[in-house]
């Protein structure tokens, strides 16, 4: 973690609690020596932010200062920044023990995070453009209950990959002494999305055009209305920024999107300038959503998103033909077949009084393994929840629903997402509620263990490498 003051999050165990089981002599390691340079930016950024925030004031202050004071101030600032960067690097250690990853950090406010390895939801290795130049990488961990990602920034590239492999191997249940030698699990490429398809798919999304259009139309209108350069700039810069991120930024981020499969879980490699390498261990996926924007329907393309507890990144496949997407979903959720559109049960006809026209977009299907609900008429979203991942089931019915004898059934998952079967017949909804509770109970018995390589047979890992 980078900030020293964000307290102890729920996903971590306090120091000392499990110290009993540890073998003596855990080796602590430091981050890559490049790290201070990155930290040194903090005071400079603060100053720059202040200057941008109030340009007139800054100019007046600058003219008042002589060259000597300016140079002295700059030198002091650089020195302070360097010292801050160096100290924060010096006081940050990490260590991998049999069951935990420990991060010790903080100069004034000490913070020790012990992250249970079997609780890790996903591991990402990201290499922003500048870090790629310097040959370093950032290791991010998704842990349940923590607000933001725990990250180790920066590590040497080889070190980051080795640590990632070691963390996953230990999380998978390999013995501590062999975990280091297991190495990177072999990956098999499932899908690689062509750049042409990504570009075309972005052009077929309304939001892209919407943001571009706003960025082009709003500033001239503002100029006509106010004739104030500052107002126009204040509006145009964020609008342009938004337009660029939603079009070019998304393209760069999704460039060369590759999904591959390995015993450690699913790998996602993506990005043109900033390379990201994500790993979602098996059994961590709480919900899978298949999104079908209106204009993509002609091409039969869909986007696949997943929800993992404690994770913010959610896209598994930015764009892919439906049959490929369904094949990938079958890999993510073993034994799951995506229900066909024809298999989805629509709400009863009288539901049109509750949601005119739009009721046609709704539909549900329940299979042996998943609860699936579709919503949306133009932009269709089909959400799949494995029965084993259901946290609670709720039935709600408002006064208007009561008149038309319909009810909604909500299925809550651990990623703080709720999948709703809307406007079901009241009796059917009550049945659905009971049956879903029953199914999620039996489904849980069949779920894989947290340490996925210590499967039922107990023989440990199949051959890797």
């Amino acid at each position: 973690m980078t900030t020293p003051d964000d307290g102890t999050a729920a996903g971590e165990v306090l120091a000392g609690e499990r110290a009993v089981q540890e073998p003596a002599g855990v080796t602590e390691r430091r981050l890559h020596p490049v790290t201070p340079l990155r930290r040194a930016w903090a005071p400079v950024t603060v100053l720059a932010g202040w200057a941008v925030h109030d340009p007139d004031q800054t100019q007046r202050q600058l003219t008042r200062l002589t060259t000597t004071t300016l140079l002295l101030g700059l030198a002091a600032l650089v020195l302070a920044a360097a010292l801050y960067g160096f100290l924060s690097w010096w006081f940050t250690h990490y260590a991998v023990t049999g069951a935990e990853l420990r991060i010790r950090t903080g100069l004034l406010f000490r913070r020790t995070a012990h992250i249970r390895l079997e609780r890790i939801q996903a591991v990402d290795v990201t290499r922003p453009l500048l870090a790629r130049v310097a040959g370093v990488a950032k290791l991010k961990l998704d842990v349940i209950g923590a607000d933001k990602k725990d990250e180790l920034a920066f590590l040497g590239e080889a070190e980051a990959c080795a640590l990632r492999a070691e963390l996953l191997a230990r999380a998978a249940g390999f013995a501590p002494d062999t975990a280091q030698e297991v190495g990177e699990a072999p990956a098999r490429e499932l899908v690689r999305v062509p750049a042409r398809v990504i570009a075309l798919s972005l052009l077929l999304i309304g939001a892209t055009w919407g943001s571009l259009l706003t960025a082009v139309v709003v500033p001239p209108l503002l100029w006509i209305a106010t004739h104030s350069l500052w107002t126009v700039l204040a509006a145009a810069v964020p609008l342009l920024g938004g337009a660029v991120t939603s079009s070019a930024g998304r393209f760069l981020g999704a460039y060369d999107w590759t999904v591959s499969e390995s015993p450690d879980g699913l790998r996602i490699d993506r990005g043109l300038l900033d390379r990201t390498h994500e790993t979602v261990p098996p059994g961590r996926v709480q919900t899978v959503r298949i999104v079908e924007p209106l204009l993509w329907r002609r091409f039969g393309w869909v986007r696949v998103e997943l929800d993992v507890a404690g994770s913010s990144n959610s896209v598994l496949l930015p764009v892919a033909p439906r049959h490929i997407a369904e094949a990938v979903v079958a890999r993510v959720l073993p034994g799951v077949t995506v229900p066909r559109a024809a298999d989805l049960a629509r709400p009863p006809r009288r539901a049109r009084w509750c949601a005119p026209v739009w009721w046609r977009g709704d539909g549900i299907a329940v299979t042996d393994t998943v609860f699936a609900a579709r919503h949306g008429l133009l932009r269709r979203r089909l959400a799949l929840v494995p029965h084993a991942k259901v946290q609670s089931v709720r039935l709600t019915r408002g006064p208007w629903h009561r008149v038309w004898r319909v009810a909604d059934v909500h299925v809550d998952t651990g990623a703080n997402k709720t999948v709703t079967a809307r406007l079901r017949d009241a009796d059917e909804a009550a049945r659905l509620l009971r049956d879903q509770a029953e199914r999620s109970r039996t489904g849980r018995r069949r779920a894989r263990p947290d340490r996925w390589m210590t499967a039922e047979d107990g023989s440990g890992a199949p051959g890797r490498r």
Partner: protein, 175 residues
């Protein structure tokens, strides 16, 4: 049935009750909650009615003070609504999950499997304590789970908490 070591026979009956008829055995809330809510309603709306009556009589004339009857009518209506709402609250402990059903106009029914519980909370505010009431709240990994049982007898709340914790441990499952 794997109920563990439950000390009270009452609880065992409830856990096994599902097997008998298929329909869960519902438990209603004790009348304490209704008493508290009605008292609060009458006290607050009574104060408002008196204040409005006096203020209107002083400023706009005695005829206007009849408007103070509006809060009284609201109190009467609220009295009935609170009764209906209280009657709609009920819960059932089944072998593997807890059922909570509530609401008349906005009806909601929640099922929480014991194995999914992360935390059981018993809270009791100053007014609730005065009336000898406690609230049991269940938390799962999903924040949307809204499983709260208000207005329980403190002894019952503690029994429920202990039983839920025990069952939660026995059937515990990861995320």
């Amino acid at each position: 049935m794997e109920t563990g070591s439950v000390e009270e026979g009452r609880a065992e009956d409830r856990a096994a009750g599902r097997a008998a008829g298929g329909e869960p055995v519902w438990t209603a809330l004790p009348p304490g909650l209704l008493r508290m809510r009605r008292l609060l309603l009458v006290v607050w709306l009574g104060l408002i009615a008196v204040a409005a009556g006096v203020a209107l009589a002083m400023t706009a004339g005695p005829l206007w003070s009849a408007c103070a009857l509006a809060p009284v009518a609201a109190a009467a209506w609220g009295w009935v609504l609170l009764g209906r709402n209280w009657r709609s609250w009920r819960y059932a402990e089944r072998a593997d999950d807890l059922l909570i059903s509530r609401g008349v106009l906005w009806h909601e029914e929640t099922v929480v499997p014991y194995g999914r519980m992360q935390l059981v909370e018993v809270t009791s505010g100053p007014v609730e304590r005065r009336f000898g009431l406690a609230t049991v709240q269940l938390h799962t990994a999903a924040a949307a789970t809204d499983a709260t049982i208000p207005g329980l007898d403190p002894a019952e709340a503690e029994r429920l908490r202990d039983r839920l914790t025990e069952l939660g441990e026995a059937r515990s499952a990861g995320l």
